[in-house]
């Protein structure tokens, strides 16, 4: 048993942290205020290889592993949750279905530019009627000659409007009504495909979350991703890896909040001493540290299992569930430690709290994670 990161993983952390501290942290608040997609920073991140961390160099990626990817998302999120979710949605949701199920030609055409960071990816599963339950998918695709024709829409899609490549699901019934769901690759400039409204969110203002609209959108037959009718399985498998990304994002936000709260507690004086000397405050900090430590171990272990080629579905769900709830509590307590200064924007901790809330919702809510975990442990299908 070895709990130490390898020198290479330490090096990766130092490298990403260096970039995040110098380039992202100083402008993170401003990015949120402007609410614009931080294209320039994402371009720089792409140049550094931060957009294709776990994909092989042969396909344009950086050639590292899931653990390196988790560390990358953690460190980016420590500086900005928006940058964390942009990179996470691109890497583990946008790229991964093509990596898992793409043909060589699809990988060459679509994954290579995405893994190298030249093109941003997005993943469209959620619809108004299909949130936790993807069987509610209404977007349809029917075959017409050598094309598929898509009609319908997606909601809450990260990187909408900035992505060049979208992987989406649609129901592909022919005559029989099986409700089978298939996956497709859609290029941003395909006629019949448009971006609808952008959500106004509680946090993560510098990341795009928007609607995808398909109106007789014709895509070439070869853009079917994986087997017809297997899209649902492919997208759920993708979420397994994505959950490591969201867990890492939660971890980075919690870490940032914890660091801010510890520094503030030592500095702020009331009743003639530093507030860190009051047990009521000190114990909050101790609990934060314990939660983060446990969440980090779960997250890194899930990544390690993935890197070992072992099954990691349950562990990724555990990591995501636990890390997101730790992030919620830690960021909330960080505001508390700051008192009134925590509630105003100057000390950043209210931003961490708003951003952290998403980690309990995206890529499966906490309730869904519990369901996944319980199902796998108990071997029951229902729920």
């Amino acid at each position: 048993m070895d709990f130490a990161l390898s020198p290479q993983h330490e090096e990766i952390r130092r490298t990403v942290r260096d970039f995040a501290e110098r380039r992202i942290r100083p402008v993170a608040d401003e990015l949120e205020r402007r609410g614009e997609f931080p294209m320039e920073i994402i371009r720089e991140a792409a140049d550094l290889g931060l957009l294709g961390v776990p994909y092989p160099e042969e396909i344009g990626g950086t050639g590292l592993d899931a653990l390196a990817y988790a560390i990358t998302v953690e460190e980016l999120s420590r500086a900005s949750g928006s940058i964390g979710i942009i990179v996470s949605a691109h890497t583990s949701l946008g790229c991964n279905p093509i990596w898992l199920a793409g043909t060589d030609a699809q990988k060459e055409k679509y994954l290579r530019p995405m893994a190298s960071g030249a093109v941003i990816g997005a993943y469209g599963l959620t619809e108004p009627g299909a949130g936790s339950d993807s069987r509610g998918t209404r977007t349809r695709a029917h075959r017409d000659g050598d094309a598929w024709v898509l009609n319908g829409g997606k909601r809450f899609i990260t990187n909408a409007g900035v992505a060049g490549t979208y992987v989406v699901t649609a129901v592909t019934d022919r005559e029989e009504q099986t409700g089978k769901i298939s996956a497709f690759i859609v290029e941003a400039d395909t006629p019949g495909f448009s971006i609808g409204r952008m959500e106004e969110k509680m946090g993560l203002h510098a990341s795009n979350t928007g609607e995808l609209i398909f109106t007789d959108c014709r895509i070439p037959a070869e853009n079917l991703l994986g087997e017809e009718g297997e899209g649902d399985k492919l997208f759920l498998r993708t979420l397994d890896g994505g959950r490591i990304g969201i867990a890492a994002m939660a971890l980075g936000l919690a870490q940032a909040a914890y660091e801010a709260a510890s520094a503030y507690a030592k500095e702020r004086r009331q009743f003639g001493k530093a507030i860190a000397e009051f047990q009521g405050v000190a114990f909050m900090i101790a609990d934060m540290a314990v939660g983060i430590e446990a969440a980090r171990l779960l997250t890194y272990r899930a990544a390690w299992l993935k890197d070992q080629g072992r099954s990691y579905t349950t562990e990724a769900a555990m990591a995501k569930l636990y890390a997101s709830e730790v992030a919620r509590d830690v960021t909330n307590d960080a505001v508390q430690v700051h008192g009134g200064y925590g509630y105003v924007t100057e000390y950043h901790v209210e931003r961490y709290l708003r951003d952290a809330k998403l980690t309990e919702i995206g890529e499966g809510t906490s309730q869904i994670q519990r369901m996944v975990i319980a199902r796998n442990l108990l071997g029951v299908r229902a729920m």
């Binding site: 020198p7 290479q8 090096e11 990766i12 490298t15 990403v16 260096d18 970039f19 110098r22 380039r23 140049d47 550094l48 290889g49 931060l50 961390v53 160099e57 950086t62 050639g63 590292l64 390196a68 990358t72 004086r269």
Partner: protein
Amino acid sequence: MKIVVCIKQVPATTAEKRYTDDLRLDRASAEAIINPLDEYAIEQALRLLDAGTVDEVGYLSMGPEQAGEALRRALAMGGESATLVTDPALAGADEWATAAVLAAALDKLAPDVALMGMASDDARGSLVPGAVAARRNLPLLSYGAELALADGQARIRRLSPTGFDWIAAPLPVVASVTDQVGEPRYASLKGIMAAKRKPLDTWSLADVGLSAEDLRSGALTRVTDARPPEAKPPTERIENVSADEAAAKIADWLAARKLV
């Protein structure tokens, strides 16, 4: 045209340092980084490489085996190859001994410019560039805010009290640069992967034509004592008083110490 950047691995600036019984720094106790002032030398060399002025950038370090990590990190920023001179006999080498080893290695590597940072973050002697130049009998261009290479000449721009001076010397030279060079670039993850494939040679003392005996006679200094900095007296706080009262108290405090 070829530049070799000499880099030193040092304990992180903020790390708490411990000493071994013979008053040497316990290097295992602190996180090790590239001497931050050397990163400016790396940046300067890589800018000249990017501009096509030089066609090869290599790195040279003398230190324990783990200094190879610093060389790998430099290679992740850019450049082609690196050389580490490491030998049990080098433990405790002072500036003069270090300069002897670097000079011998540079004789073998034969760069047009041997480039260094202006000082090391741990020892802050600033002696090595001059000592290497003296050893190699080459011109020294020190404390450059910028290094330019053209027509068989190296020039540095050095800030002076009245503006700046351009100082030139025919190649090959030994040069050092300051933080005026500009922000060092970030290492990249792609760079880290690429660095794994770049050659990193390890040379012993014998490989550079020196013996332990040469070094013993070369070491001119010895550490006789090491202690932590004295604790600062406790901060006096003036709290919970009006601004006028606080100002008066501060003025009194300064006046009592003849500071105003």
